[in-house]
């Protein structure tokens, strides 16, 4: 009897131990097993990011987030951490993507690849630090490309530093320099303050601003008198100071704001910088003159592209959009259509007469404006050695379909806009026009 009881007791102990171990195993599953599974399913269920031409920029395979196109639009797409997006669109659209919704972009990977290739070729050649390009579809404001150099591959994002991961085309501010001249001339023509044929005395240097003024000067040698068309052609700062001499400051600042400078880009959710436009109380004659040639204001490449797109789009500003169906598109008329057309003609002359080999393509009508902007150093002064090479333009000039803005920072070799940014514009334009198989025009041969 006693033996029987002892055996049963032993059996009960074994049984109890077994049950206890089962409990421990189940708890361990909860503690270690479940989060792994959850993570895997979270990643697997995450929506893909797709370009407008169907190329998948980000997707989930076997519980991993992968970026099949590698470095194409890397900074724009951003990357994903353990369960959430960390940067770029992965972070901005983390909610919808986590809910399994696909994100369709307006990007065209062919144009994007072309922009990235043009930067990758030119920036190292000119020993630049970094460069950005934004390409917009003129009539709709759809972003066809937003490229940043050096490239960034989100598949191996830990290998890159914070600066390389930054989507500079949207968030880095710089002084747009002489590119702004075209926009200011359009505004002045819209106000009836000048015409393409109006002639101004244009010495190489001029003192502007009265008691608190300063001397402004030109870089490109030019005749002692220039028409408005010549001012753009020779990129004369002195000439611009004449053009805006009677421009009411409030009105000119308002025009710049209407072009999108100094205000948020209406692009929901996506982080963008707004640039800077000096507050009206700080405006004086000198500020007006320097703003007329793009000093003292700052913008992103995206803002510059959107501003030039206004001229391309018959005077209508249309806010850029990157995500299909995201909404929030702003439209407003900044200058009259005929003024925009006249300005386009002036900008076409800038290329055909000024830099036909650097920015022009035989048989095609391209229009644009160069800019070489000084940068502000750590002490808050304009650097004498570090420049931003800028170009903004569109094509075909008579009826634009695509607007492009280019910026390369701190190039050490041939850093002028016409030497560096303009050829990048030309390279991208050639790719896009070839993609269209657009027939050349015999008139412009």
């Amino acid at each position: 009897m006693e033996v029987k009881i002892r055996n049963r007791s032993a059996l009960m102990r074994v049984l109890a131990l077994g049950l206890f171990l089962t409990l421990v195993w189940a708890y361990a599953q909860l503690e270690w097993g479940v989060p792994q599974t959850v993570r895997s399913s979270v990643v697997q269920a995450r929506g893909p990011i797709v370009a407008s031409d169907g190329k998948v920029l980000a997707t989930s395979v076997n519980g991993k987030r992968v970026y099949p196109q590698g470095s194409i639009a890397g900074q724009l797409v951003g990357m994903m951490g353990t369960t959430d997006g960390l940067e770029g669109l992965e972070a901005a659209y983390n909610g919808p993507l986590s809910a399994g919704k696909p994100l369709k972009l307006t990007l065209d990977t062919q144009v994007q690849a072309s922009a990235e290739a043009a930067l990758a070729k030119a920036v190292p050649e000119h020993q630049g630090e970094y460069g950005t390009v934004v390409v917009l579809e003129t009539r709709t404001g759809r972003v066809l490309a937003a490229a940043t150099y050096p490239p960034f591959d989100p598949n191996v994002w830990r290998r890159y530093d914070q600066a390389t991961r930054r989507n500079r085309a949207f968030v880095d501010n710089f002084e747009p320099g002489s590119t702004v001249k075209a926009l200011v001339v359009a505004a002045a023509m819209n106000e009836g303050l000048t015409t393409p044929e109006t002639v101004y005395d244009t010495p190489m240097r001029r003192f502007v601003g009265g008691r608190w003024g300063s001397t402004i000067g030109d870089v490109v040698p030019h005749p002692s008198s220039l028409s408005t068309q010549g001012i753009l052609r020779y990129s004369s700062n002195v000439g611009m100071s004449h053009v805006v001499e009677h421009f009411p400051m409030e009105s000119m600042r308002e025009y710049l704001q209407q072009y999108g400078f100094g205000r948020e880009v209406s692009m929901p959710v996506i982080p963008t910088a707004s640039g800077q436009l000096q507050p009206l109380p700080r405006w004086n004659e000198l500020v007006r003159a320097t703003n007329a040639f793009g000093q003292g204001i700052s913008s992103t490449t995206l803002q510059l592209a959107a501003a030039f797109n206004t001229l391309a789009n018959d005077g209508q500003y249309i806010s850029p959009r990157l995500v299909e169906g995201a909404g929030g598109v702003e439209r407003r008329e900044v200058v009259q259509p005929e003024v925009a057309r006249t300005t386009r003609r002036l900008l076409q002359t800038v290329i055909t007469e000024g830099i036909p080999t650097k920015a022009g393509i035989k048989g095609y009508n391209l229009a644009g404006k160069t800019g070489t902007a000084q940068t502000v150093d750590a002490r808050g002064r304009y650097s004498a050695t570090v420049f931003d090479s800028v170009f903004a333009g569109f094509f075909p000039a008579e009826s634009p379909r695509v607007t492009i803005a280019v910026m390369v920072h701190a190039a050490k070799v041939e850093y002028h806009g016409s030497q560096l940014a303009a050829p990048i514009f030309k390279e991208i334009s050639a790719d896009v026009l070839s993609g269209w198989a657009a027939a050349p025009q015999r008139d412009s041969d």
């Binding site: 190329k55 590698g70 194409i72 072309s114 990235e116 290739a117 048989g363 657009a438 050349p440």
Partner: protein, 152 residues
């Protein structure tokens, strides 16, 4: 097994008619409560047991046969699930590889390395379109159609 309704239950003493087995009590006992007499005879039990065992054996045999006949289904299903998972992974990987191989940067570099020239850079020749050779006017056969209308 036929229940007999009129069988008297034995009392405590084992007699059908005990101390309270007067005419009145006897009649009451017979009428209330009604009792079921179960046929518990050996042949009945034996027959019943044989039937039940036979049914049980039949069910067992049926189940064993069905189990035997379907034993491959579960492993097959598991194998199919594993294969499906493998194929899904393979498809995803192939789609991914295709996407990577179709990378526009890669295609562009390859094309330029293999002598591609842009359309805009290529030399273009123009040629006047020759005039359309004069074709003699087609001879229209004379064919007169006469219509006669008759009004009624």
């Amino acid at each position: 097994m036929r229940p007999s309704l009129h069988r008297a239950r034995p009392n405590r003493e084992g007699h059908p008619d005990g101390p309270r087995s007067g005419p009145l009590f006897g009649s009451l006992r017979r009428a209330w409560p009604p009792t079921l007499a179960v046929d518990t005879s050996l042949p009945t039990w034996r027959g019943r047991a044989v039937r039940y065992v036979a049914i049980y054996l039949l069910m067992v045999v049926t189940l064993v046969i069905v189990r035997g006949a379907t034993q491959h289904i579960r492993p097959d299903l598991r194998a199919a699930q594993v294969r499906e998972a493998e194929l899904t992974t393979q498809r995803d990987t192939l789609v991914l590889e295709l996407q990577a191989l179709e990378n526009p940067q890669r295609l562009r570099s390859w094309a330029f390395a293999n002598g591609m020239r842009r359309f805009t850079d290529a030399d273009k020749v123009t040629q006047a379109i020759p005039p359309v050779p004069s074709v003699p006017a087609p001879v229209v056969p004379e064919h007169n159609l006469e219509v006669r209308t008759q009004w009624r």
